[in-house]
Structure formats: structure tokens, C-alpha cells
């Protein structure tokens, strides 16, 4: 047995710097990473296996737990996939509510990202602020769905409940409050010379390779490539709302951070527009008894934009009351394994957790 020359560093699973229960095994020489290896499977719950034993509606309880920081896009994507298979129409009001909820989910996930990105660089104050303010979004969710994290709100055919009374006002107020707080956050983080020094030129994803590597979402837009599912294949009410997809050149942590900074502002504006335009009418096309509900045979590939990037569901039905196969393509699937293993070598140990946070690696999406 020959002992390795490089020092081995286990970043995770029990480590303050890792983004979830995963492990990045680093081989380092000096403080430079020579080789990085992602190890996942610590969170494997066999969702896709379990869903095959649940009926179409029961799957929702499992689906939203695919990725904890942002459960709603999972529900939305799956609901849209089932709708596509079944050819079920969604009322206009439900489309708007879905848009609002998924944008709220984006905002709360962005606020968590603020915490993660600043916390991994040692600026804990911002994390305390933003994660604390995230509770206001969760309050909105709670009023709307009854739960803080896992909502199971968006079902095939619409949403589970209509907006409660006074919710719209509350949503407006929350948006106003957040917008005010965002200037504080950005002053603290983006105007900070040290953060700039840390973030610039670190964890670069090359622009010409980005799409081929499977990079999606903010990391892709951080390389200057404009790609957003909400524009490429508009779903729900996005084609009726005005918003900009920010892009920045550079491909480093700094560019990704700037993209996210602008996106959260866009999300707030989208919510405002959707609340303004919210049409009346029904919010739900009733589905039959879920125990006996069958979906016509076929396959569907549906994509949605989450905070970490594009997520997709590949759903196959064999015409029974249970899905044949539900396969999630998480945004972190490429980010967390192959992209990470490509961009980490050559980086400083100090930047590993920083890069992980900026890529938005979410292990449960990888192993499900």
C-alpha cells in the first residue's frame, strides 16, 4: 500500500462549510486543491422508488421534499407534467397564483443564499438578517397554505386553496419591506471591498464550455449566456409579465452573485405585477377521486426555472393510477458533481465552500 502524497480533506458530511449532507473529498497540496471528488448518497430516500408505489396525488407529499431550500418548483413542475399528460386546463387565476407562489419561493431561497454566500465568507451579520427576514415570506406561505416549508399547494388543475382575505395586502407590504431591506443587504455585501476581493476571479466557469458542461440557472447567466426557462418556454403567467433576465460576464462567484442580486429584484417586480393583474374566477379544476384517478399513458418532459437553475421532471404514465416513473433532473445534478469536480482543482481551500454556495449545490437533488 502506497500512501498518497496529497493531504486528504473531508469537506463534509459533518462540516459547517458544506451545503447540505454531502461530502467533497479534497486532495490538497499546500492550500491548493489538486483534486475534488463529490460523494453523495447521504440523503438518498429513494423518492422515485416510493413514488412508484403512491398514486398520482400522494406523490406530492414526497415531491416537495426533493430539495428543501425550495420545494415549490418541484410541485409546480410535477403538476404541470401531470396536466400535460392528462391535457387538463388550468384556470387563469390559478396560473397567476402559481406564478406568485413560485416567485415567493424564489425570493425565500435567494434570502437563504444570501445567508449561505455571506456566511461561507465569514460575514455572519447578513445571514442573520436575510434568513430572519425570510420568515416574512414563510409567513405568507403559512397564511396561504398552512405550512412554512412544505406546502403541497400546487396540484394538477390549479392550486389547493384560494388566496385568503387580506393576503394580497400583506404580500404587497412584505414586498415593500423586502425591497427596503435589500438595499441594506447589497450595501453590506456588494459594496464591501473584501467581498469583492474574495469573489472576483474565483471559481470561474468558462463561457464557451458552460452549456456543454450542463451549467444552468444563475451560474450560466453569470457567464454571460442568457438562458431562462421562464423566457425560453414560458409557463404559467410568465408570458404576460414583464421582467428582465440579468446576465453578467465573467463566470466567477462575483458574476453569479450579481446575477442573483438582480434576480431577486426582478422576482419582487414579478410578484407585484402578478398581484396587480390577478384575475378572478376559479382557482381549481377539480380532479376525480385521487385513489381511482388514472392518467393517460404517455411521457412528459417539463422544465421550470428554480433559483439553482432549470429543473425538469421526466414523467412516464402507463395509464394506471400510479406513475410509472418520475425522474427529477435537479439543477444541482450537473453543478454538484461534474462541474464542481472540474472547477475546484486549482482553487484555494478557503474558496471551496464559497464556490459551493455560489453554485447552489443542493445534494438531495442529486441523489433524491
Amino acid at each position: 500500500m502506497i500512501r498518497e502524497q496529497e493531504t486528504t480533506l473531508y469537506l463534509g458530511p459533518q462540516h459547517p462549510g458544506i451545503t447540505g449532507n454531502m461530502m467533497v473529498k479534497l486532495k490538497v497540496k499546500g492550500d491548493t486543491v489538486i483534486k475534488a471528488e463529490t460523494h453523495v448518497g447521504y440523503l438518498h430516500r429513494a423518492f422515485e422508488k416510493l413514488i412508484e408505489n403512491r398514486n398520482w396525488l400522494q406523490s406530492f407529499t414526497l415531491l416537495c421534499r426533493f430539495c428543501v431550500p425550495e420545494p415549490d418548483p418541484m410541485e409546480l413542475t410535477y403538476a404541470r407534467a401531470v396536466e400535460q399528460l392528462e391535457g387538463r386546463e388550468v384556470p387563469e387565476r390559478a396560473k397567476y397564483i402559481r406564478t406568485i407562489v413560485s416567485e415567493l419561493a424564489r425570493i425565500q431561497s435567494f434570502l437563504l443564499w444570501y445567508g449561505g454566500q455571506s456566511g461561507s465568507s465569514g460575514l455572519y451579520t447578513l445571514g442573520q438578517w436575510s434568513v430572519g427576514d425570510r420568515n416574512y415570506i414563510l409567513d405568507l406561505f403559512e397564511d396561504l397554505t398552512g405550512a412554512r416549508i412544505y406546502h403541497m399547494y400546487m396540484w394538477p388543475g390549479g392550486v389547493r386553496r384560494d388566496l385568503p382575505e387580506g393576503w394580497i395586502d400583506k404580500a404587497y407590504k412584505t414586498m415593500d419591506y423586502l425591497e427596503k431591506r435589500l438595499t441594506d443587504y447589497n450595501q453590506l455585501l456588494f459594496d464591501n471591498a473584501i467581498f469583492q476581493k474574495r469573489a472576483q476571479g474565483v471559481g470561474i466557469i468558462p463561457k464557451d464550455k458552460a452549456i456543454e458542461w450542463g451549467v444552468v440557472g444563475a451560474p450560466l447567466r453569470g457567464t454571460g449566456i442568457k438562458h431562462d426557462v421562464r423566457i425560453d418556454e414560458p409557463y404559467e403567467a410568465y408570458d404576460q409579465l414583464k421582467f428582465v433576465v440579468p446576465t453578467y460576464e465573467g463566470g466567477d462567484v462575483w458574476a453569479r452573485a450579481l446575477v442573483r442580486r438582480d434576480e431577486i429584484k426582478q422576482s419582487i417586480s414579478i410578484i407585484r405585477q402578478a398581484l396587480d393583474k390577478l384575475p378572478g374566477g376559479s382557482y381549481y379544476n377539480r380532479i376525480p377521486n385521487p385513489m381511482k384517478w388514472t392518467v393517460p399513458a404517455g411521457e412528459a418532459w417539463v422544465k421550470t426555472e428554480s433559483v439553482r437553475g432549470e429543473i425538469g421532471f421526466y414523467v412516464v404514465s402507463d395509464g394506471s393510477n400510479k406513475p410509472r416513473r418520475v425522474h427529477l433532473k435537479g439543477a444541482a445534478y450537473a453543478h454538484g458533481v461534474s462541474v464542481l469536480e472540474k472547477i475546484l482543482p486549482g482553487q484555494n481551500i478557503a474558496d471551496v465552500s464559497f464556490i459551493l454556495n455560489s453554485l447552489g449545490v443542493c445534494p438531495p437533488e442529486i441523489e433524491r
Binding site: 448518497g41 422515485e48 408505489n53 456543454e212 418556454e233 385521487p290 418532459w301 412516464v316 445534478y333 472540474k342
Partner: protein
């Protein structure tokens, strides 16, 4: 709806080169069925000639009734924003599929996963044998003939009270002897 001009063009060019069956499923979705041995050349063709440089997804479905696995390669063109889904079927008895991680690096991750979860072999695949599971000694778990619940009961010690978890409300009712409350009735449909 548009008349799928772009989509049919791609489909036609594919049909010119390869022996495939295919159809335009919906807006921006082209679905083709190909033979196992053609898949990698189709993917290379799509990537190099037609600009489908982004590998969106690879999925695997176990069709135990036909004794086949279906592999679905979903590729995407960032310019035209079209998606091509390449289906292929391989025998369950000899689950071997061509390795495409030379075309897209991230295919390696998918293939390692399928090797572990379905038992499909990809000759020449680099990477640790254990990707998600650890010390797995049963049949690959994502195969349809693997019974997860039975395995769980055999392996893990469970707490009593969960034997009949399918009908929770009934179980509660039986145990407590209470009626199903009104608000709950409202949501239960028949």
C-alpha cells in the same frame, strides 16, 4: 399553435441519416425512437451538426412487462430552444449500454447512477462503483421487481402502529373510536 416547422426540419434531417422512428410531440419537443447501437452516433450528430450541445437529462424506465429498460436521452439546443428526446430500449437480461461520457462529461454521473440503481453496465465507465448507495447487496433497487417495503420491513426494526399506514384516517378512527370530523369529510371525495 405553429405548424412545428423547425421541429419537422430537424426530424427530417435525422431521418435522412439514421434509421429512426420519430414524431414531433408538442411545441419544441421532438421524440425519436432509435436502436441501441445508433444512439451515440445520433447524439454526436445532434451535438456537432445540429447544435444540441446541452445534455438536459438521461432517464431510465423499467418496462418489466416487456422485459426491457428504456433509456431516454434529452438534449437541448440553446439557439433554437428545441428539445430532442432520444428513446432506446435495451434488454433487461443483458443490460449493457454504450457509454456516452466522452460526448458529455456529466453523462458520467447519470450512468454511474443507472449502473447502481438499475444494474445497467456501461463499458468503460470511470468512477467509483458506489455512487449513492453503500454496501448494497440486493438487486438494484430501482428495478420494478425490487420490493422496497418488504426490504424495509426485513431490514429495519419498525415501531408498532405503522402496519396499516395506507388508511391513516381509518386507523385513527379505529384506535380512538372517534368519528371522522366534519372538516376532514369535506376533503374526502368518493
Amino acid at each position: 399553435m405553429s405548424n412545428f416547422k423547425k421541429e419537422t426540419k430537424i426530424l427530417k434531417s435525422l431521418k435522412d441519416v439514421f434509421e429512426i422512428k420519430g414524431s414531433v410531440k408538442s411545441d419544441k419537443r421532438i421524440s425519436i425512437k432509435a436502436d441501441k447501437k445508433n444512439v451515440s452516433s445520433i447524439l454526436l450528430f445532434l451535438k456537432n451538426q445540429k447544435g444540441f450541445i446541452h445534455l438536459n437529462h438521461i432517464s431510465c424506465v423499467d418496462w418489466i412487462e416487456q422485459n426491457e429498460f428504456e433509456l431516454v436521452y434529452i438534449v437541448w439546443n440553446p439557439k433554437t430552444r428545441l428539445t430532442v428526446m432520444v428513446h432506446t430500449r435495451i434488454k433487461r437480461d443483458e443490460p449493457v449500454m454504450e457509454n456516452i461520457d466522452t460526448i458529455w462529461d456529466q453523462a458520467n454521473t447519470y450512468e454511474r447512477e443507472f449502473r447502481e440503481m438499475f444494474g445497467i453496465e456501461f463499458p468503460g465507465l470511470i468512477g467509483a462503483k458506489e455512487f449513492i448507495l453503500e454496501d448494497w447487496d440486493n438487486i438494484p433497487p430501482m428495478r420494478k421487481d425490487f420490493n422496497s417495503q418488504q426490504y424495509a420491513i426485513d431490514t429495519f426494526s419498525t415501531r408498532p402502529g405503522r402496519e396499516n399506514a395506507q388508511n391513516v384516517r381509518e386507523a385513527i378512527q379505529k384506535r380512538s373510536g372517534e368519528e371522522i370530523p366534519d372538516f376532514a369529510k369535506k376533503y374526502s371525495r368518493d
